[in-house]
């Protein structure tokens, strides 16, 4: 039985042989485990006093049944002492610091006193003593003769893994133990050890504890054969060798044989403790698999600490690949039927839901919204099968628990690792679907940082009403549209959603009735507004702005500049000729183009406004409709990008060639000015630095102007430009690099200089400072790079890769430390931030008590907006 106990303190030390014997319940002398009848042999490795694992038996030490008895240690008396591998290094240090004759620490009396004093001070201050102790060992080792008995000291060579060699002879474990036994207590203290809890001779084992059977259970195979645990196998080896050793020694075997057996015993004890000691061949199972011994059980990712104690596994979860489905609401997640049939939600039967639950039970486990298990009020679990479902349904009583299969509308948690912020786990509504992937609306990719190149995500089904309520209120996607990181929407349009909105709302392209119906076919109850006009043949037409207005909530007033606003010197506002000035009045898009600044993730102003002025439900409806409309919008005009979208007319490429030629000439001029000593150094720079900077400047400008030239010939009829301009994907710089000129490659912000002596590649003259010799790539990706350009490009590209790799690892570690420090802090109901002990950390959360996701960029702007809104409602 377990008795509740409170841990007062923990002390680490070495266990003495006496203590090993004291905690032992039985001395193990035979290597056998079970007799022919299958009962454990007394004083064998499975002695019933060590605990029980076989059902029906009782422990002979505590009378506990399997599961109650925690197990008890036994012991093996080793015939000769062996070294404990874990202390090999410390043994070496001590051997060298201690006199080989009188075993005293080779330091003068007054040195010992001061060192002990220093150690005590450090311990009192709670500081680590490691550095000081290493210093003490180093000092003690310096003596060639013992300052006490005058005995000359010999150098002790250490040979991995466990040999200590003095004067060409190997010290036996007994020799070492004898030396350590003689060390006075005071000297032990001087090397930072406590003689009461850690006598050095205890590092040499004379008694080996035998772990209880409960931690090395044997398993019975289907064939009826017993298969023993790796630890048991190892213990068998130790006992066998121990016995043979004893027999040989008593029979007076030659020294050589005795030494061999001693060595063997040492090997077995070593591998019993740690089977990965370098220099020791790992002990293997009959099949050739290395044994998993004590330290392997604890160490590493799958060890007891990281694998079993810190690592948790859960039930009611699923994991699979994700794929996009824009027809789902942002609050939904598509769950494969196979997953839905496996996972369940517990329902407690009561008078009101009895009939409904009976229906589920009657469906059995194979007809989807069915039932897998039921738990009766006495706790008995019954598996519902095709055969017994009718019967079970008829028996159903109130108070029974029914595990209903996951169904549409159930709430689940959806998660993608790494879970870096709270939006990495959000609650979704289930939508059971065919096929084998989780489906989600691409608008919720940004908070998860997900894409569909093979990403997998996890799903968890809350099992209690409290958990479901909490998930529904706090964790639903729509409640997390605003990120507490920057107070703006983290969920919004990406890629095609932005492109689609842009194409739909840019300008006033006429859309005929069929087109308009096409755009709105996914919506219920939306009527077409009066047409914007009629075309030449008298047919009515609508504009994309009108159609987009249909999904905006009434009462929304908003004015802002679109993402592609070129920031003219003098903003013409309503008269913007780029259609980049967005005006929304009472939910009508009067003018301007919807792009990433309006509906994009991270910056969508409309989303931000809708959620702050209205509520998350309206915002999520808007997002659902926006995603559908945007995709209809992109399908209406069609959208593709191909290699010929990077084509520029010959006139443009001539101009680009001219620009790069001039740039190269300018660089040459700079170099000759530098060589002639005519270059004026910039303030605070050397002449060399000045030259580099001027060259970089010249080439940078050249790349920009090639981009401008290319840009002049690539208009909004180019899909690359549409994507870049609307903020959907890519930038004008990417297009410039594809169509016009890749530009200067750099390493650490400088031109490439590494490589051969005085030159980057053998293709160039020594000391060449010219543009192409230091990584200027004149070609475009479309034209292709010449070999030297390609090489420089690879250098620059590699730096980028290395940087990202380092950045992620560094920021990950930083985050880990931060989270470890802050994870237990909690904002209490009175607004204070406290840790687990109730100590106050902040008297008001964040000094101002404001939830960052609800603060709405407080500023004078808001006053204007509120006045505007009041006036608008007054006017109506």
């Amino acid at each position: 039985m377990t008795v509740p106990k409170r841990i007062g303190k923990i002390r680490f030390g070495l266990i003495s042989p006496q203590e090993f014997r004291k905690m032992s319940v039985v001395k193990i002398i035979t290597a056998d485990t079970y007799d022919d009848d299958g009962f454990p042999i007394d004083m064998g490795l499975m002695d019933p006093r060590l605990g029980v694992i076989d059902p029906g038996l009782r422990c002979r030490s505590c009378a506990g049944r399997p599961g109650e008895c925690p197990g008890h240690f036994g012991h093996i008396d080793l015939i000769a002492p062996v070294i404990h591998v874990g202390f090999a290094k410390l043994i070496r240090k001590l051997l060298r610091a201690v006199c080989r004759d009188c075993s005293r620490l080779m330091l003068l009396e007054h040195e010992k006193v001061t060192y002990i004093e220093q150690i005590k001070t450090l311990v009192r201050l709670g500081q680590p003593t490691d550095d000081l102790v290493s210093k003490i060992f180093a000092e003690a080792r310096k003596h060639k003769t013992c300052p006490y008995c005058g005995a000359p000291q010999q150098e002790i060579k250490f040979e991995r893994p466990l040999a200590y060699i003095e004067e060409g002879h190997k010290l036996t474990a007994s020799d070492i133990r004898d030396r350590f036994e003689k060390i006075p207590d005071a000297d032990i203290e001087a090397v930072g050890m406590n003689s009461a809890t850690a006598r050095p001779e205890w590092m040499i084992l004379t008694v080996l504890p035998v772990p209880p059977v409960t931690m090395r259970p044997s398993i019975t195979l289907e064939s009826g054969q017993r298969s023993e645990d790796d630890l048991t196998h190892k213990l068998v080896d130790i006992i066998r060798i121990n016995q043979r050793f004893q027999e040989n020694r008593e029979a007076g075997a030659p020294q050589l044989i005795i030494e061999d057996l001693w060595e063997l015993l040492q090997y077995h004890v070593t591998t019993f403790l740690d089977n990965t000691v370098s220099g020791v061949p790992p002990a293997r199972h009959r099949s050739g698999r290395p044994l998993k011994t004590l330290s392997q059980r604890l160490k590493g990712k799958e060890g007891r600490f990281r694998g079993s104690l810190s690592g948790k596994r859960v039930n009611f979860s699923a994991r699979t690949v994700i794929s996009p489905d824009p027809n789902l609401s942002i609050n939904e997640v598509g769950v494969p039927l196979e997953v839905a049939k496996e996972l369940s939600v517990p329902l407690i039967v009561n008078v009101r839901n009895m009939e409904m639950i009976k229906q589920f039970v009657r469906r059995g486990p194979d007809n989807h919204p069915g039932v897998n298990y039921i738990t009766r009020s006495d706790g008995r679990r019954v598996k519902v099968t095709d055969k017994n479902c009718e019967e079970v349904a008829d028996q159903l009583e109130t108070g029974w628990k029914v595990d209903r299969q996951l169904n549409d509308g159930d709430i689940v948690l959806f998660n993608r690792q790494p879970s870096l912020h709270r939006m990495s786990i959000m609650a979704h509504r289930v939508k059971v679907m065919p096929y084998k992937t989780f489906r989600l609306n691409p608008a919720v990719c940004p908070p998860y940082n997900a894409d569909f190149d093979g990403d997998e995500m996890n799903m968890h089904v809350p099992q209690t009403e409290e958990a479901r309520a909490e998930a529904h209120i706090l964790m639903r996607v729509q409640e997390n549209i605003l990120s507490p990181r920057f107070g703006g929407p983290i969920i919004g349009g990406i890629h095609d959603y932005v492109t689609g909105s842009f194409l739909l709302t840019h300008g006033r392209k006429p859309i005929d009735r069929q087109g308009a119906m096409e755009l709105l076919k996914k919506y219920d109850g939306i009527d077409l507004p009066p047409p914007a006009g009629t075309d030449d043949s008298g047919e009515p037409y609508w504009t994309g702005k009108q159609i987009f207005s249909l999904i905006l909530p009434r009462g929304l007033n908003l004015t802002f500049k679109a993402d592609f606003c070129p920031s003219c010197d003098q903003c013409k506002e309503e008269n913007c000729e780029n259609d980049a000035y967005v005006v929304i009045r009472d939910g009508n898009l009067i003018q301007g183009t919807i792009d990433s600044a309006a509906v994009g993730a991270f910056k969508g102003k409309i989303i931000d406004r809708v959620i702050k002025q209205f509520n998350p439900t309206i915002a999520s409806t808007f997002l659902d409709r926006m995603t559908l409309l945007a995709l209809r919008g992109i399908m209406l005009s069609g959208f593709s990008f191909g290699i010929d979208d990077e084509d520029i007319p010959p006139a443009a490429s001539d101009q680009i060639k001219e620009v790069t030629r001039v740039a190269r000439e300018n660089v040459e001029k700079l170099i000759s000015a530098y060589n002639a000593g005519e270059l004026e150094p910039l303030p605070g720079r050397t002449l060399d630095e000045t030259l580099e900077m001027r060259i970089m400047q010249t080439l940078g400008k050249a790349r920009d102007s090639t981009g401008q030239i290319a840009g002049r010939y690539l208009g909004l009829d180019n899909s690359g430009v549409v994507m870049a301009v609307s903020g959907a994907r890519g930038s004008m710089l990417n297009l410039t690099q594809m169509a016009a000129c890749v530009g200067q490659q750099s390493v650490r912000g400088e031109r490439i200089r590494r490589g051969y002596a005085d030159r980057t590649l053998p293709h160039f003259q020594r000391g060449d400072l010219g543009a192409e010799a230091h990584g200027f790539v004149e070609s475009s990706y479309k034209d292709g790079l010449n070999p030297t350009e390609f090489f420089f490009h690879a250098i620059g590209g590699r730096e980028g890769l290395v940087d990202t790799a380092i950045r992620t690892s560094q920021s990950g570690y930083l985050q880990r430390r931060l989270v470890n420090a802050l994870q237990d802090l909690e904002v209490k109901y009175d607004g204070t931030v406290r840790e687990t002990r109730g100590m106050i950390v902040q008297f008001r959360y964040g000094e101002d008590g404001v939830d960052a996701s609800r603060r709405d960029y407080a500023g004078p702007e808001n006053v204007k907006r509120i006045i505007g809104r009041v006036l608008a409602t007054e006017g109506r």
């Binding site: 009175d830 002990r837 100590m839 106050i840 950390v841 008297f843 008001r844 000094e847 101002d848």
Partner: protein
């Protein structure tokens, strides 16, 4: 050498020594025991400056860019 008061430095926010009654009020307001407050050492220059003793509670009025001012309380400890 001329002596300066640390309180005169612009980076040191105003520190006010609370009377036992005021301190009690603060503890009551936050429903805490004195040891649950953040601490300040008696030998801290500010604590010395305002003449606090071990067990006193000091009110610190910090400037805050978002909340204009933010009030902290600290328990003087040894």
């Amino acid at each position: 050498m001329k002596k300066f008061s640390v309180l005169d430095h612009e980076l040191v926010p105003p520190h006010i020594l609370l009377s036992p009654e005021e301190a009690e009020e603060v503890l009551h307001k936050f429903n805490v025991q004195a040891p649950q407050l953040p601490k300040v050492h008696v030998n801290d220059p500010v604590a010395k400056e305002i003449g606090s003793k071990v067990g006193d509670v000091i009110k610190v009025i910090r400037h805050s860019p978002t909340a204009k001012e933010s009030v902290f309380y600290r328990l003087v400890i040894d």
